[in-house]
Amino acid sequence: MKSRKKYNEPVTVILLAGAAVFIFLPLYMTLVVAVKDTSQMQHILSFPKSIHLENFVNAWEMTDYPRKFFNTAFITIVNVIATLLTNSFAAYAISRNRRKSKFFSVLYYYFISALFIPFHVIMLPLVVQANTFHLDNIVGITFLYVIFGMPMNTFIYCGAIRQIPEALDEAAMIDGASPLQVFWYVIFPVLKPTTATVAILSVMWTWNDFTMPLILLSDQDQQTLQLSQYVFQGQFSTNYNLAFASYTLVLIPILVIYLFAQKKIMNGVVAGAVK
C-alpha cells in the first residue's frame, strides 16, 4: 500500500487542468471581455491591449445598478432575517408537539408534502393572485419567499430539533420560562449550525433566483440584479463588452462572499441536503 504522505500526482494534474479549462477559462474570458473595447474582439481570449473601465461605468448607469443592488440586497436580507425568526419557531412548535397533538402532526406532513410541488405548477395562478394582493414589488416578493421557504426549512429544522433532548426544555420550563423564552434562550442558541445552513440556502436562493422576479416584478424600479440582466439582454445586443461588464458587476458580490465564507457555505449546503 501507498504511504499516507505521498501525493497522488496524476490525479492532481488532471484536477488542476480541469479546473483551469472548465472553471478559470470562462471566468477569465468574462473578465477580459468586460475590460476590452469592440476593436479588440478579433481574438476573444487575447490579453487586453488597453483596459476600458468605462464599460463598467456604462453598465452601472444603463442598468441602474445601485437601485437593482439595493432591491436584491433588501429581498435577500429581509428574507433571511424573517425566515430565521418565523420558520425556526414554527418548526420547533411542530417538532415538540407532534406526538402530543394531531394538529401539529398533520401540519408537519402538510408542509413536507408541499416539497413535491414544483414552483412552475403554481406559477400561473400565483401571478393572478399576486396582482390581487399587490405583491408585485420587493416587499411582496420577500413575503412570498419567507412563506415558500417553509417546507424546506421545516424539514431541515425539525431534523435538527429532534436531536435536542426535551429535558432541556423541561428544565427551563420548571424555572418558569415561557415557551417563547425557552425557544429563544435555550433552543435557538443550540440550533446555531442549522440556522447557518438555513441562512446560507435562503441567501443563495433569493440572490440568484430569476423565475419569481421574472413573473412578479415588472416595474423597472423593483427589479433585481439577475432579472435586470435578462431585461437588458436585448439592449446589450452585440455590445458584448458592456454585457460582460454588467455580468461581472453582478458576480462580484457573490464571489467576494464565497472567498470569505467558502468552508461555511460548503458545510451548510451538505448539512441541508443530507438531513
Partner: protein, 291 residues
C-alpha cells in the same frame, strides 16, 4: 398555569398557525386554483366556463406540448446520468491524496454560487463566439457554427447543466466518501479489491445514501429545467429546446393558453410526484440491501 387547560400551550398554536394560514393562502390556494382553472377556459381575466377535461385533451394531443414533454424527459434523463457520472469522478478525485485539496474543492464548487441565468449568458457567448473563432482558426466547419442555432442545441444546454450541476452533486458524494470507514478499504485490499474493482464493489455501494439524494434531487430539478434555457435559446431554434417549465411560462402568460397551461402544470405535478416517489421507493430498497 395555562398548560393545565390546554394540552399544548397556545403560543405554539399561534406560532405555527400564522405560518400555516399564510402558506395555505399563498401556496396551497394557488395550487388548488390551478387545478380548478384547468377544468375551465379562463384566460387569466374576464369570464370563464367549465370545459371538463378538454384542456387535458389538448395537453395529450397538442404536438408542441408533447414535444416539450419529450424534450424534458430526454433532458432530465441525460443530464441526471451525466452529472452523476462526472460528479462521482470529481468526488473520488477530490477525496484522493491530491495537492491543493481544499483549493481544488473550493474551485469545483464555485459554479454552485453563480446564478444560472448569467452562467447561461456567458456560455451563450462561448458557444456563439469563442468556439466559432477557434473553429475558424482550425478551419473546421462544424466548430465554426453556433451550436445553439443548430439541431444540437440540446447538447449545449446539457453541457451548461453539467457545468453548473456538478458542484452540488460532487459535494454530496464527497461527504458520502468521508463517512466511509477507512478500515473497510483495508479489508477490501486484503481481498484483492483495489482500483476500479474497489470502486464498483465497495465504494459505490457504500455511497448509496448520497446516490439516493443526488438522483432524486437531480431528476426533480432537471424536469423543471428553466433558467438555462431562458438564457441560452429561449426555447429555440423553433421550439426544439422548449421544456415544460418554459412552455408553461411562455404560452401561459403571453399566448392566451392560460387554462391549457394550468392543465399542463397539473400533469407536470403528477409526473414529478410519481417519479420522485418511485425513485425513493427503489433507491431506499437498494440502500437497505447494500447497507
Amino acid at each position: 398555569m395555562k398548560a393545565k387547560h390546554w394540552k399544548v400551550n397556545p403560543v405554539y398554536y399561534i406560532g405555527v398557525g400564522i405560518m400555516a394560514i399564510l402558506f395555505f393562502t399563498f401556496h396551497t390556494v394557488p395550487f388548488l386554483k390551478g387545478v380548478f382553472y384547468s377544468f375551465t377556459d379562463w384566460k387569466g381575466f374576464g369570464d370563464w366556463n367549465f370545459v371538463g377535461l378538454k384542456n387535458y385533451g389538448v395537453v395529450f394531443s397538442n404536438k408542441d406540448i408533447l414535444s416539450a414533454y419529450f424534450f424534458t424527459f430526454k433532458f432530465a434523463l441525460v443530464s441526471t446520468i451525466l452529472v452523476n457520472i462526472v460528479s462521482l469522478f470529481l468526488a473520488c478525485g477530490l477525496s484522493a491524496n491530491v495537492r491543493f485539496k481544499s483549493f481544488l474543492r473550493g474551485v469545483y464548487f464555485l459554479p454552485y454560487m453563480l446564478g444560472m441565468l448569467i452562467v447561461g449568458f456567458v456560455f451563450n457567448f462561448i458557444f456563439g463566439n469563442l468556439i466559432p473563432e477557434l473553429g475558424r482558426a482550425v478551419k473546421s466547419d462544424a466548430l465554426s457554427t453556433n451550436i445553439l442555432g443548430s439541431s444540437h442545441a440540446f447538447w449545449a444546454i446539457v453541457f451548461v447543466t453539467i457545468w453548473a450541476g456538478c458542484a452540488f452533486d460532487t459535494l454530496i458524494y464527497m461527504a458520502g466518501l468521508q463517512a466511509i470507514d477507512k478500515e473497510i478499504y483495508e479489508a477490501a485490499a486484503l481481498d484483492g479489491a483495489i482500483g476500479w474493482k474497489r470502486f464498483i464493489r465497495v465504494t459505490f455501494p457504500l455511497l448509496a445514501p448520497s446516490f439516493t439524494i443526488n438522483m432524486v434531487l437531480s431528476v426533480k430539478s432537471y424536469l423543471m429545467v428553466y433558467d438555462q434555457i431562458m438564457a441560452m435559446t429561449g426555447g429555440g431554434p423553433g421550439k426544439s429546446t422548449t421544456s415544460i417549465a418554459v412552455m408553461i411560462y411562455k404560452q401561459g402568460l403571453g399566448h392566451g393558453q392560460f387554462a391549457v397551461q394550468t392543465a399542463n402544470a397539473v400533469v407536470l405535478f403528477i409526473v414529478v410526484v410519481v417519479i420522485s416517489v418511485f425513485q425513493l421507493r427503489v433507491l431506499e430498497k437498494r440502500e437497505e440491501k447494500v447497507g
